[in-house]
Symmetry: C2
C-alpha cells in the first residue's frame, strides 16, 4: 500500500536502511531481488517462483541471490520479516490498541486482525514462506516473535491454559494454504470474524 510496502527492503531499520558498510551496488541488488520476488509471487503461484527466475527478473546473477540471502528459505524469511516490520514495531511501542498501552484482550484481537491484514495483502508470500521454511517454520524469527507475543498475552489473560500451545493454535489460523481456501470466495469478513470468535472462545471472558 504505502511506499514502504511496495519499495521492497525499505520498511525496517534492520532490513532496509543502508546497512553498515554495505556497498551501493549491493544495496541496489538486494532491493531489486526483494522486489522481483514479490512481483513473481503475485504473478505466478507461490510454488512457481524458482531462484533462477528471481535472479533473472531482478537482473542479477544467481550467485548474488545466494550471497545476499543464503538460501531460498532465507530469501522468503527476509521478505516476510520486511513485510511484518511495521506490525513488529507497533506491538513494541505504546500506542493502543496494538502497543503496550492497550488491554491484553484488546491487544490480542488487534494483533490477530493485523495478521489478517498481512495475510490479505501477502498471501502468496506467506504460503511461499511456509513451504520454503519447511520444518524450520517454527524457528523463523518472524514466527517466533509472533508466537512470543501471543503466548505472553494468553498467559496474562488465562493463566490456567497452556499458553504456548494456544498461541500456536491461534497462529495456525493463518496457515497460507488454509487461508487461501477459506477466503477463496473473496469474503475476508467471514475469516476475520471466525478468527475473532476463536480468540474469544480461547481467552475470552468465558468462565
Amino acid at each position: 500500500m504505502s511506499e514502504a510496502t511496495t519499495e521492497a527492503g525499505e520498511a525496517t531499520t534492520e532490513q532496509g536502511a543502508a546497512r553498515r558498510g554495505e556497498r551501493a551496488d549491493a544495496a541496489r541488488n538486494r532491493r531489486a531481488i526483494l522486489r522481483a520476488t514479490e512481483e513473481l509471487l503475485a504473478e505466478c503461484g507461490a510454488e512457481h517462483v524458482s531462484l533462477d527466475r528471481v535472479a533473472a527478473a531482478a537482473g542479477v546473477g544467481k550467485g548474488t541471490v545466494f550471497r545476499r540471502f543464503g538460501s531460498r528459505t532465507g530469501l522468503f524469511q527476509a521478505l516476510l520479516a520486511d513485510r511484518a516490520a511495521r506490525l513488529r514495531e507497533a506491538i513494541d511501542e505504546e500506542a493502543a490498541p496494538l502497543g503496550t498501552d492497550g488491554a491484553p484482550c484488546e491487544r490480542l484481537l488487534a494483533f490477530l486482525d493485523a495478521l489478517a491484514d498481512i495475510a490479505e495483502h501477502h498471501l502468496s508470500l506467506i504460503a511461499a514462506h511456509e513451504r520454503a521454511c519447511g520444518e524450520d517454520k517454527f524457528d523463523d524469527p518472524t514466527y517466533r516473535g509472533w508466537h512470543a507475543h501471543v503466548s505472553a498475552l494468553v498467559r496474562e489473560l488465562r493463566p490456567g491454559l497452556d499458553a504456548e500451545f494456544v498461541a500456536h493454535m491461534l497462529l495456525a489460523a493463518f496457515d497460507g494454504e488454509l487461508v487461501r481456501r477459506l477466503t477463496a470466495d473473496g469474503d475476508w469478513t467471514r475469516f476475520r470474524r471466525s478468527v475473532r470468535d476463536l480468540a474469544d472462545l480461547l481467552v475470552g471472558q468465558g468462565k
Copy 2:
C-alpha cells in the same frame, strides 16, 4: 503394533486385500514399497526419503513406484490412508466411544485422542505426508474425511460456530512439525491434555 500395522497394505479393504484383478507380483511389490517407505521414514527424517531410495529399499525399479502410486504425493497419501483405516472404520461403526452410539462430545474427544495415537506412532509419516501434499493437503481424502467428521460433531455441539473453521483448527493441532516440537521431550501426556483442553474450550459446556 498389531500385524496389520507392520504388514503394510494389509489393513484395509481398499488398500490391502488383493484388489480385483491385481497380479500377484504387483500386489507383492505394492506391499514391499509401502513397507520400505515406512522403514525409511522411521530411519531417516521425513525429508530424506526420496523415491529412488524407496525403490531401492523395496527392491523394485523406480517406474514401479510411480505406476503403483502415481506420484510422491500419492505414495504418502496411500500410506497415511492405510494407517488411518482402522480409525476410519471405528467412526463409521456403532460402538462407542468413537462410533455413532457415542454422545457427540464423547465422540469428538475420543477421535482427537485416536489421532494423537496415530501421531505418536506415525509422526514421520504425518510430516512427510504434509510436505508431499503441499498445497493439496486439504484435498487429501484422509484429511477431508477427518475434517468432515469433526465438522459434523462441532456443528451438533455448537450450532452457533463456524464449524468448518473450528474443525480445521482442531486438526491443526496435529501438524506434524508442531507435534514433533511439542513432544520433543517425549511427554505425550501434556500434548494430549492440551488438545483436550482446546476441544473443551471450543465446544465444551462453557456458555
